[in-house]
Amino acid sequence: MLTVKDVVKSFNTGDNTIKPVNGVSFSVEQGTFAAILGKSGSGKSTLLSLLGALDKATSGDVVVDDVNISRLPDRKLTAYRRDDIGFVFQAYNLIPNLSAQENVMLPMEFAGVPHATRSARAAELLNQVGLTEEMHARKANRLSGGMQQRVAIARALANSPKLILADEPTGNLDEETGELIIELLRRLAHEKKTTILVVTHDRALAAQTDRRFRLARGRLTED
C-alpha cells in the first residue's frame, strides 16, 4: 500500500521558485501496476525520486505500508532504498566499468547476500530481461542503450523490492523487447504482489497497466 498525501517539491532557480510537484495526493494498493503520464518537464521524474526516497519532499507525506518515509532518518532511508525499492533510472545509471552481471549484483552485495547466490540470481535476472549469457560479462559502457536499460531493470529487481519505480523502462526498446519487459513487470505485479509505478510515453505500455495517472502543472489526476 502506497499513499501519497499533499506532496510538494519546489526548486529555487535563481529568483523564482518552481514547483514541478505541487500538492500531489494518490493511493495505490499493493500489487498494482500503474502508469504515470505527462509532458516532458512536467515533474514525473521528480515525483518518482520523492517516492524512492532519493530526495526529500518540501512538504507532504509519502507513506509506504504505514511507514512515513518523509520522516525517516537517513540510516533507515538507506535500508528502505536497498530493501524495499527498485529504481530504474531514465538514464539507466549503470556503473560503467562493471560488467552487466556485476551491476545487477551490487544491490545484493549491499544487502549482504553471499557472492555465489547473488551471482546466480544476477544471471537469472539478466536472462529474464532477455540478455544472453555472452552479454553478462560485458562492461556496462560497452552495451547498447537498450541493453543498458534492461540491465537497469534487472538491477531494480535484484532485491525483490515491494515497490518498483521505473522511469521510461521501455523508452529505448524495440516493440518486441518492450513487450517482454511489460509482460515481466505485469507478472511481477500480479503474481509477486509488487507495486509497480512506471513513467511512460509508451501507449502500448500504458494500455497494459491497471491504473493511469496524468501529471500536469504539478497536479496528479487519474485518467
Binding site: S49, L54, R81
Partner: protein, 483 residues
C-alpha cells in the same frame, strides 16, 4: 566482485592519471623518506662527534705548549678553581716530563716537558734548546732521532744552526705522564693491552704503565722493573695508544711523578670535561676568566667541531624541513586527487546510494581506492629512497659545510719531541670541519622506520578521511543530475 576488487579496479580506471599520481606520490614519499634517513644519519653523526672529543677543554700554562714557550706551571689550587667553574663535570691535571736515558744524558736543560698526550706537528726551530729533560730513566727510547730529532736537538735558535755534538751521542727523551686517574692527558681512558691499570696513586707508588713499542725495545713485561730517577718502578701494565710517539712513553702516578721530579704541586696541563658541547665556548671563557688570561691558555679542540656540528645541525634542520615538506606535498597530492575523484564520480556515488549503499560502504570503497595509490606510491617511493638517501645525505652535508683549508701535518706523524704534543689539539684548527665530518653513512634504524611509518600513515589518514567525508556528503538525488 566485492568492495575490495571494485576499489582496486577503480584505482586504475584512469590508468594514465593513476600512473602519474603514483609517480608523483612516489617522488614525494621517496624524498620524504630519504630526507628522514639523512636526518637520522646526520643526527647520529652529530652524536658521535659530540661524544668523541666534543666537550673537552685543555688548559695549559700561559705561553706554553709542551716543551715550548715559557710561563709558570699550573698548580693544584688552579685545578680546584677549574673544577669550580660552571658546566665543568671534571677536571684532571697531569704532569708531563721528559726523561733522558741515564747513559746518554749529558746535559739537562730546564725545559719542563708537558703537553697533550698525542703527538703533533713538530715545530722545528722554534723555542729554545731541543731536548730538555728533567729526569733520567733506565729505559732506552724506541724512537730513533731521525732528521727531525737532529734538528730539534740543535742548540741554535734556528733549525739550521750547526750542531757540534755528534749524532750518536743522544737519544730521544721518553715522555712520562703523571696521571691522577687511569686516563690519558686528553681525558680518555688508557688503552691497556696487558696487565692492569694504575691503582696506587701515592707519592711512594712504584707503579708504571709502559707503551708497547717502548716495552718491546726494553724487553719489558708486566712485572718487569726499570728506574726513573733513583726509584725502581714496576711495570703494572702495557698500553697501546695507537701511535709511535705515544707508545714511546710511560704513565706514572701523578704524586709519584711530582715527588720524583721535585715538582710538588705542579701540573703541566688540565683536561677539563664540559657537561655538554653546547657549553664549551662559554666554559672556555669562564675558565680563562677564573684562572686569569695571563696565567693560562685555554684551548677547546672543538672550534672545528662546533662548526662541524653547527653545519651538520643546519643539514639536520634542512632535512627535517624537507621531510615534513615532502610529506605535506604527498598528503596534498592525495588530498587533491581524492577531491577530484569524488567530484567526478558524484553521480556514480549517487547511484550507489540510490540503490542502497550505505555511507560506510561507499566510504570504505573510496578509502581503499586511496590506499591503493598510497601503498603503490610508498613502495615505489621506498625504492627511490633506498637509492637516493645516501647521495642526498652526503650532498646536503658537503653543500652546507665550509670547506676549510685542509692542512696536512708532517708526514711521519708526531715529532720526536714531547713538546710537539700540545699541538695536536690545535692541529684540528687547520683541518676543515668537512674533514671532521667525513662521509655520512646512512642506515635504516628503528627510529627511521617508526617516523617514516608515522609519516606514511599520516598520508594514508588523509587518503582515508577525505573520501570518507566527501562521499558522505553526496546525496542520492545527485544520480538524476549530470555533471
Amino acid at each position: 566482485m566485492g568492495v575490495v576488487s571494485r576499489s582496486v579496479g577503480n584505482a586504475f580506471r584512469n590508468k594514465v592519471r593513476s600512473g602519474a599520481v603514483v609517480v608523483i606520490l612516489a617522488v614525494a614519499i621517496g624524498l620524504a623518506l630519504a630526507m628522514l634517513v639523512a636526518n637520522q644519519a646526520v643526527g647520529a653523526k652529530v652524536d658521535s662527534l659530540k661524544s668523541s672529543v666534543g666537550n673537552t677543554i685543555t688548559v695549559n700554562p700561559a705561553g706554553s705548549r709542551g716543551g715550548l714557550g715559557g710561563g709558570n706551571p699550573l698548580t693544584a689550587q688552579q685545578l680546584e678553581q677549574a673544577q669550580a667553574v660552571a658546566h665543568v663535570t671534571s677536571a684532571t691535571g697531569v704532569l708531563t716530563v721528559r726523561l733522558g736515558n741515564t747513559d746518554t744524558t749529558g746535559s739537562s736543560a730546564a725545559g719542563t716537558g708537558t703537553g697533550g698526550a698525542e703527538g703533533g706537528a713538530a715545530q722545528p726551530g722554534r723555542g729554545g734548546p731541543g731536548f730538555g729533560t728533567s729526569g733520567t730513566t733506565s729505559l732506552v727510547s724506541a724512537v730513533a732521532p731521525g732528521s727531525i730529532g737532529q734538528r730539534n736537538n740543535s742548540n741554535g735558535s734556528t733549525g739550521t744552526a750547526p750542531n757540534a755534538s755528534a749524532p750518536p751521542s743522544f737519544s730521544i727523551p721518553i715522555q712520562a705522564t703523571g696521571v691522577a686517574t687511569s686516563a690519558t692527558a686528553a681525558g680518555s681512558a688508557i688503552n691497556i693491552t696487558g696487565g692492569a691499570g694504575l691503582n696506587d696513586f701515592a707519592a711512594a707508588s712504584t707503579q708504571a704503565l709502559v707503551g708497547s713499542t717502548l716495552a718491546e725495545k726494553n724487553s719489558l713485561k708486566v712485572g718487569s722493573t726499570f728506574t726513573v730517577q733513583d726509584r725502581t718502578m714496576t711495570v703494572k701494565g702495557l698500553f697501546d695508544a695507537g701511535d709511535a710517539f705515544e707508545n714511546n712513553g710511560i704513565y706514572l702516578p701523578l704524586a709519584a711523578t711530582q715527588s720524583l721530579m721535585d715538582q710538588a704541586g705542579q701540573l703541566s696541563s688540565f683536561s677539563v670535561q664540559v657537561d655538554s658541547i653546547d657549553n664549551v665556548t662559554t666554559t672556555q671563557t669562564a675558565l680563562t676568566t677564573a684562572l686569569g688570561a695571563d696565567k693560562v691558555d685555554v684551548t677547546a679542540g672543538s672550534t672545528n667541531l662546533e662548526s662541524a656540528i653547527s653545519s651538520l645541525g643546519t643539514v639536520q634542520n634542512i632535512s627535517l624541513i624537507a621531510f615534513i615538506a615532502s610529506l605535506g606535498t604527498a598528503g596534498l597530492i592525495v588530498l587533491l586527487i581524492m577531491i577530484m575523484v569524488v567530484r567526478e564520480r558524484r553521480r556514480e556515488i549517487g547511484v550507489l546510494k540510490a540503490i542502497g549503499a550505505s555511507n560506510r560502504t561507499i566510504g570504505v570503497q573510496f578509502v581503499l581506492e586511496a590506499m591503493v595509490l598510497v601503498v603503490l606510491g610508498t613502495v615505489v617511493g621506498a625504492v627511490v629512497a633506498t637509492f637516493a638517501s645516501s647521495p642526498i645525505a652526503n650532498a646536503l652535508v658537503s653543500g652546507n659545510t665550509s670547506s676549510g683549508t685542509t692542512a696536512a701535518g708532517p708526514a711521519g706523524g708526531p715529532g720526536g719531541l714531547g713538546g710537539g704534543g700540545g699541538f695536536s689539539r690545535t692541529r684540528g684548527a687547520f683541518a676543515g670541519a668537512e674533514q671532521l665530518i667525513g662521509t655520512i653513512s646512512t642506515s635504516i634504524g628503528w627510529q627511521t622506520l617508526v617516523l617514516g611509518g608515522i609519516g606514511v600513515l599520516a598520508i594514508a589518514a588523509i587518503g582515508a578521511l577525505i573520501p570518507a567525508l566527501l562521499t558522505a556528503k553526496v546525496r542520492p538525488i545527485e544520480v538524476l543530475r549530470g555533471e
